[in-house]
Amino acid sequence: MSILHTVNKSPFQKNDFSSCLSHANAGDAVLLIEDGVYGAVSGTEAAKQISSAEASVYVLGGDLAARGIASDKIADGITVVGYDGFVDLAAEHQAVNSWL
């Protein structure tokens, strides 16, 4: 069963993103929202884990912009989506798991 995981905590606050990446399987998607978008910044320990993750990683563009994170600061391998993309990801996967 494919799952969309959402992570809303900064990797500097909690280790949800790291745990989520370890648990997510191939075919799953991980979407960073709210303070979770800090995990998408290139050069961080969290972002380094993305290259070896099985799941595809996405980040919510509006939440990046709200935090002043420019698109050229995003680590390679992460796709920026809007709320319509969030809805599509939720529809495309069989379940949504919010890491709260």
Binding site: T6, N8, I33, E34, D35, G62, D63, G82, Y83, D84, F86, V87, D88, A90, A91, A95, V96, S98, L100
Partner: protein, 130 residues
């Protein structure tokens, strides 16, 4: 597709209420159905009509009420969570001997069974919280 939305965090806390609202709006815009938005724990604070944010700030409660009116959404506040936090509809205010009620337009108070039902009826249940 049918979506159910759960909101576990109060408005103006972190971002969960705004995220849930934006997700709900985007899903409706794409032609999906929202079977119910269930407000649980501090999330019930989204449903008080006595909220008065500064005029230059968004009014989260009014945004929900307007969206509910436009799309005939079912916005449900968990009764046990609501009573603990002083959120009452007319019937409950009368039953508890209180002199006022404060449930906002478009919201209703009901039980946890409504969350279970939303989970069964919806193809996807998406939770927002702290």
């Amino acid at each position: 597709m049918k979506f159910g939305v759960v909101v576990n965090e109060g408005p103006y806390t972190h971002q969960a209420s705004d995220s849930a609202y934006n997700f709900t709006k985007a899903a409706l815009a794409k032609g999906h159905e929202i079977v119910r938005v269930f407000f649980y724990h501090d999330g019930v604070n989204n449903g008080t009509r006595l909220t008065v944010p500064p005029s230059d700030d968004r009014n989260i409660q009014e945004n929900w009420s307007a969206l509910a009116k436009e799309h005939e959404l079912d916005l449900v506040l968990c009764i046990a969570a609501a009573q603990r936090r002083g959120i009452l509809d007319e019937n409950e205010a009368k039953r508890q001997g209180k002199d006022a009620d404060n449930v906002a337009e478009g919201f209703r108070i009901s039980g946890l069974g409504q969350l279970i039902e939303a989970g069964i009826q919806a193809d996807r249940l998406v939770t927002f919280g702290d």
